[in-house]
Subunit: 626 residues, 2 copies
């Protein structure tokens, strides 16, 4: 039975974990030599290897499994793109500054922190209604707009934290990092706030690669940037962060059914639906098939990716009972979104959003179409002709021919060939305009409204154009890594002896190769074994120092190396070594020649440790010395 | 015998290749919807997968093999770091602008292009001495400083290319992209121009992970940015580019010997040494052991990484006879560098620098030490005590005790414990100063020069401190990818039938699964096979469309899928499929159950196609239909 690692348990371990993170350089603040920069972290060898492994498994689990198109678009993004996407105008936080020193604060954070401090400090002395008011503000403060925030700051007398000075009025601060490209064009640009836009901009190219058919998905693993006002919270809120995003393009008329969802209808996942939140209830497990049938989740495509996300998180080592999917409130979602769920993971700091799954509808493709005049559409093809209301343009060909002579034919041909939506636009245009000028082959030709009539007609068509909708699962790699580290961290009976119980495919190094004592004979075996492991691309760490074996185990345990191979006297006579698993510390005896393949298959998740236990004889180790 | 793919051959293929790159979206200009931005490219699914694969193999070949510490440092880099590294002052190109329109040009490029145009246009009419003068300028123009460039532009009457207007005076333009971090601190920062600095800044942390010992290496795969003045040349000169860099830290007294170099002393690699260049000769193969012994390559550590680089390039599919290592001229190297070689690859645009291998000496660690006051050193430990000249500080303890009372002891203890280099600094300080104030435990204590004497003494020491030197192999991933694509591109007898002969580990998709004709029975087999391949993490593409098999092969050939599995009638009765290799188009018949493992081992380079041919019966295919 799985234990929930509740916040208290995780908090208790947190201090010991922080020490290991620092001592073994899993990750650390960047630029410490220069005094550091808030919100920037460097991943050390252990953190970096885990990051690479969870990205690589993300590729297998999503990209290979769903045949997604992985792309690598640029971080540098010209301003017009982010103007069209809405980021230039709306990707902001409210900023207030110390009116004397200029120190900046995120408005919602300083209000929350001030009120929480007052509640903690004044305790029972605080009047019940005041406390209730504070709690109500804390709950909603991140939704306040400028005016409301200004009111609250005045009303509740919020001041600069360090100095007590007055705060400036809240103003929206754009969270994108700006730059300028090129010396002469001086193109204003930003570092991308998400990888998504690169996939929307390449939609037409990818559609072509898919033979013009939807559904298909694009995926991207890469960095995003957010100029946080005052970042805190370690890897959970960085100014530069690794993301893995999918944009799954679907026909809106088809998104409610997703064939592969069938295999997950009985999968139970903890959901915190909009309704449960309204009733102030906890999350509870739902059968995913029922959740869609009962209208809790909007459509099967979204639900399918929620299932796949859940399975991914569990497979890489997140404790399943510390995962829940929280549905966004109607007022929390972007206006274009029809449903949105966050995969939240419980950590020492509480429930943290690690994956966002949103139905972005046709918003982004529409926005870039409008901005560029390029149609970002797909076609729905029918096996049998379908009756559709089609707007027909009826031109007075005779008069046009008379007026425009031979240009008349060009104009007629052009207008009759207009796509349906442009015919619609033309009919609307003529409701308020007299003439429409078309530029055809470089010539301006004028059509007068008197020469054209529009008629709705039912016709049988073989295809129709549409703008695909987008289901977007967006993963924050740093946050997931932080969760894995917290959930995998363990202490043995001696709390100084810590270890990480990583899933072998996530483990930063797959095995260690140790010797019971320092000896040249053993060194030869270690080198040969190391070399055959490396040939298979398996990362390993050797330790043939002259220290006690128990100490060597402790060192490899501390960074979560799942398997330890030990070379001993018997190795020289029987050509076998012992293989130890980190969590159970159980050992088996294995012929040397079989070791590399065994580690390869264990690391790739093709076999489990329990399989190894049934195949090889248990080795009764002498008690590990300290 | 390997054929050299000389520039002419590559140029001839280039047009057909460009069409495939566009049609199959291997990579394409970024932001085309918005008119595009020079120097920015997006990798499509094929390009992105190749990029991922060559990075992954780089990890195996370098990081796992050499036990390097891979880290992931940030792209955002505060200004003081890049001031210390020299980039703020010296990472520049000379910029000239059209004096009327403001269009910017890189000075060396506009001079070169103008003179080349004149030579091409005037041909034989150009006087021999003028032509010689032009060629001499073209050869050296990229080394000219501001004044010299200004002279040349005036003398040779270089004007703006499009307008013929005068050019502004050449001024250094910094190639780093600037940004500002945070709203209140407004920290000036840049996007990193190389990944190297992140490794230098983490030197002390990594040294600790290595138990305080050198040599060890750090590695990083990530993006670098360069605000090119007017980028052209596709993936070869981008403003945002993927790099893979190693900083290998060595004891300078030990870098001339590198144990593992022994296995490569007989490896022959084409070198274009400084001397061969001086004699205007071509590159020629050298035994690497001899090249070091004869002083052509400065040390074994550098030579070892040249060998590993060469082997890496060949393994991922670069034609070995199109690789050479060109040594930098003395005046071409950074002043701190003792030797520097570029791995150049011949492409349709000529020889292109793809990997730089430099001995950076102690320059960077020194620079950051000086800027931050933090010592970035390692210790050399001796097995037996070594005699060393040590500066001894002799204090007049009595007088100090009298003057400072109990603080005197603290001062004496502190000064005697100063590290050697600080004793040296103190002795120099007292040559021009009377008093030195030490802050000890928060108290300012003053030492007068009269109370201290310095004496050089030979002592036996067990260790000494030193600043490690750095050997840096730096790979440009985009350039290498471009080279692989050019070298792998092939046309069959019908030049429309193109294919890429990728090494299986580099191939973007490992196998295709096709059916001879469209059939539901075949579909079931294809789905089962696909699912077992995906479980092993193998990327595959199915094609069960109702088109001729030859057409399906052509489609998978065009993106370089090395192996094609075909399901036919016999599959249903004999549970076997055919397996086809892309270059030879030979096919064998393989039991279905053995296919997934076979593809896995072929893709990982564990077995070769020739092994498959000996194990399975050849299948005589009917002629592929078009």
């Amino acid at each position: 039975m799985l234990q929930q690692l509740n916040k208290e348990v995780l908090l208790k371990r947190r201090e010991a974990l922080e020490q290991v993170i620092k001592r073994r350089f899993i990750y650390q603040p960047a630029f410490s030599l220069y005094g550091g920069v808030a919100g920037l972290y460097d991943y050390g060898p252990v953190g970096c290897a885990i990051k690479t492994n969870i990205e690589q498994y993300w590729r297998e689990h999503f990209i290979i499994e769903e045949d997604l198109f992985e792309i690598a678009a640029t971080i540098l993004t010209p301003e017009p793109v982010l103007k069209a996407s809405g980021h230039v105008d709306r990707f902001t936080d409210l900023l207030v500054c110390d009116s004397k020193t200029g120190t900046g604060y995120r408005a919602d954070k300083i209000v929350t922190e001030t009120l929480e401090n007052r509640i903690a400090k004044e305790g029972d002395k605080l009047a019940a209604d005041v406390k209730a008011r504070y709690l109500a503000v804390i709950k909603d403060v991140d939704t306040f707009k400028e005016d409301k925030m200004k009111e609250i700051i005045a009303e509740l007398q919020i001041k600069a934290l360090e100095t007590g000075n007055d705060l400036t009025d809240p103003t929206p601060f754009n969270l994108m990092l700006p730059t300028i490209v090129g010396p002469s064009t001086k193109l204003p640009a930003f570092l991308r706030p998400e990888t998504a836009q690169g996939m929307f901009l390449n939609f037409a190219r990818l559609l072509e690669q898919n033979g013009g058919r939807v559904p298909f998905g694009a995926a991207q693993i890469g960095l995003g940037f957010r100029n946080e006002i005052a970042p805190r919270g370690g890897l959970l809120r960085c100014r530069e962060f690794q993301m893995a995003e999918i944009e799954y393009f679907v026909d809106p008329t088809e998104k409610s059914t997703f064939k592969k969802f069938n295999k997950y209808i009985n999968l139970e996942i903890p959901l915190l639906s909009r309704q449960l939140q309204a009733e102030a209830k906890q999350h509870q497990p739902f059968k995913m098939g029922d959740a869609v049938k009962d209208g809790i989740i909007n459509n099967e495509t979204l639900a399918y990716f929620m299932c796949r996300t859940y399975l991914y998180l569990v497979e890489i080592g997140i404790n399943p009972v510390n995962i829940r999917f929280r549905q966004h409130q109607a007022d929390e979602m972007a206006h274009y979104s029809s449903d949105c769920w966050d995969a939240e993971i419980e950590m020492s700091s509480g429930w943290v959003e690690c994956v966002g799954l949103a139905d972005r509808s046709a918003y982004d493709l529409n926005a870039h179409s409008t901005a560029t005049g390029q149609k970002l559409q797909a076609a729905r093809k029918f096996k049998v002709p379908q009756p559709r209301q089609v707007l027909q343009v009826i031109l007075d060909k005779q008069k046009i021919g008379k007026e425009l002579k031979k240009d008349g034919m060009a104009l007629i041909k052009y207008v009759e060939a207009l796509p349906d939506d442009e015919k619609q636009e033309l009919s609307e245009y003529f409701q308020t305009h007299e003439d429409k000028v078309f530029n055809i082959d470089g010539k301006d030709l004028t059509l007068n409204r008197q020469l054209v009539k529009f008629e709705q007609k039912t016709m049988n068509v073989m295809e129709e154009k549409f703008i695909p909708h987008v289901i977007e699962p967006a993963f924050g790699i740093g946050r997931i890594l932080q969760a894995i580290i917290e959930h995998s961290f363990n202490q043995r009976d001696d709390p100084q002896k810590t270890f990480f119980k990583f899933s072998p495919r996530v483990a930063p190094v797959k095995c260690s190769i140790l010797s019971v004592v320092q000896s040249e004979e053993f060194d030869v075996v270690i080198q040969e074994l190391t070399s055959s492991l490396k040939k298979l691309g398996i990362s390993c760490k050797t330790d043939n120092a002259g220290v006690a074996l128990g100490k060597k185990y402790a060192r490899t345990d501390e960074i979560g190396i799942p398997f330890a191979i030990t070379v001993d006297k018997e190795t020289l006579t029987a050509q076998s070594v012992t293989l130890r698993e980190i969590e159970t510390t159980k050992q088996v005896r294995v012929p040397i020649v079989e070791v590399p393949r065994l580690i390869l298959e264990l690391s790739a998740g093709l076999i489990l440790w329990t399989d190894v236990l049934t195949k090889y004889p248990l080795f009764a180790a002498k008690e590990e010395d300290a």
